[in-house]
């Protein structure tokens, strides 16, 4: 972990225009929850549907996508990554520092607003908020690692990430239940389901994978993406002639 790398990453993430998008997404989620609460009143079923479905399924992956790719992609694109790479710091340290930054940003702008929306809309927030917060936190971490790695590997990381999060996890997994086994969303929902315990049935929360499998896969994905990203960063070709 290198504090200077993290600080430069934060400046890059929040100093650019995409920072606006990063702020708008959580506002949309909390705003929608507030509007529904005012119009229809607090309700657990609606909360699970909106926060669990739209929040965990769309807002969290999008925020993690922006935070993960944004913490290294623009630097690789404009060549400024050279200022980090031409230093006596291991590439692994650089990647982990960037990942830590991306995870913190994704937690602050993805998982926490999700918990806030649940708090606003749910009728029994005491049972729902913590399981959803932890599930979303796990999802944020795994997504950020995946999308950060993707940004090192390809210049089209945002598009590839969108295809994965929207097309695969939402559309394909909707028609082909088997695809849900390979879905960060379902793995983290597995954690939430387990944390809800006996309440899960009452709230209608069912994940495609068990918490143990989901948790193991989340950890495996995070570790593998971090390792692979660092490996690719070690041999990232940089020529100014491009």
């Amino acid at each position: 972990m290198n504090a200077t790398v993290a600080r430069l990453t934060v400046r890059g993430l929040l100093g650019r225009r995409r920072a606006l998008l990063l702020l708008v997404l959580p506002l949309v989620l909390v705003g929608m929850a507030a509007v529904v609460r005012v119009v229809a009143g607090a309700d657990d079923g609606t909360a699970v549907g909106l926060v669990g479905g739209f929040g965990l399924g769309t807002i969290v992956p999008l925020v993690a996508l922006l935070a993960g790719t944004g913490s290294i992609g623009p630097e690789i694109d404009d060549g400024s990554i050279v200022y980090l790479l031409s230093k006596p710091i291991s590439r692994f340290t650089i990647l982990v520092s960037k990942l830590a930054t991306a995870v913190v940003v994704a937690l602050a702008l993805g998982a926490l607003p999700l918990a806030a929306a649940m708090l606003v809309l749910a009728d029994s927030p005491g049972a729902l908020v913590v399981p959803y917060l932890l599930g979303a936190a796990a999802a944020c971490t795994a997504y950020a690692a995946l999308f950060l790695c993707l940004a090192v590997v390809t210049r089209n990381a945002v598009i590839v990430g969108l295809l994965y999060a929207i097309v695969w996890e939402t559309t394909v997994a909707g028609f082909v239940p088997g695809a849900q086994n390979l879905s960060v969303r379902q793995w983290s929902l597995g954690l939430t389901e387990a944390l809800l315990g006996a309440d899960a049935d009452r709230f209608g929360v069912t994940a495609a994978v068990a918490a143990s499998t989901g948790g193991a896969l989340l950890v495996a994905l995070t570790v593998a993406a971090t390792y692979h990203g660092a490996r690719r960063l070690q041999t990232l070709p940089l020529t100014s002639a491009e």
Binding site: R11, G12, G79, Y83, S86, K87, P88, T239, S240
Partner: protein
Amino acid sequence: MSTVVIDQVSRWFGNVVAVNDVSMTIGPGVTGLLGPNGAGKSTLIAMMAGFLAPSAGSVTIDGEPTWRNEQIYRRLGLVPEREGMYDVVTGRELVLANARLHLLPDPEAAAARAVATVDMEAAQDREISTYSKGMKQRIKMATALVHDPSVLLLDEPFNGMDPRQRLHLMELLHRMADDGRTVLFSSHILEEVEQLAGSIEVMVAGRHAASGDFREIRRLMTERPHQYTIRSSDDRALAAALMAHGSTSGVELREAALHVRAADRAAFVHVLPLLARNHDVRLYEVAPADESLESVFSYLVER
């Protein structure tokens, strides 16, 4: 004192050979890497800086490989050609961040020293996005100098600079060289290299075409056969007269013009008007052909 050794280095991208079996040794002082655009200069510098693996051969600094060796950056400073920087921070913050990334014991002092060296104190607290091209170049320079490296690599550092900034950078590089540093910069402009570099390495089409001090390179370039295109009132008579004289090694009549290859340029330009007058030929046009840098360089390669 550090020495960069490039040993039989080639680099290809798919079917394209960017650098072809280049060997050179670069020691303390200013060295100019001269060549037309696309000659492979940037690729070679990227390999020296450890940002690209040689497809064959090796690049070492004082015996240590530069590829996949982060420790090399303790003695290596790089000024990249690309403009990309952390625009949202100020110049001083960027230099300071670089000092911290180098894990220097007193980053604040090192950053202040580097900013002073490039004469950017007045603008150091402005955001980089507000800088002119020359100011950006100087801040890039400060980030490369902040850890006092013994080897400094600059990729096309004079691009887009005005004459005053150019002069300032030249002074700075001379000062670096006088301190015993190994300074290498690339350029496609002969005059820049001539004014600055103690030794010159010429690259053309991926090959190492020539090496030496600027006098040798100048001589190689001026002693090559020169091509002239001439239009006159009687091309054939003039051709015969020129061939009879020793300064001309070949003539050709083509496209209603006379194409002359002059072996001895100085004698040729002297004798041409005399011959024309003696043979009653009126000269309409005398133009040196293929004086572009590319053709001058390619002569060196074909030599």
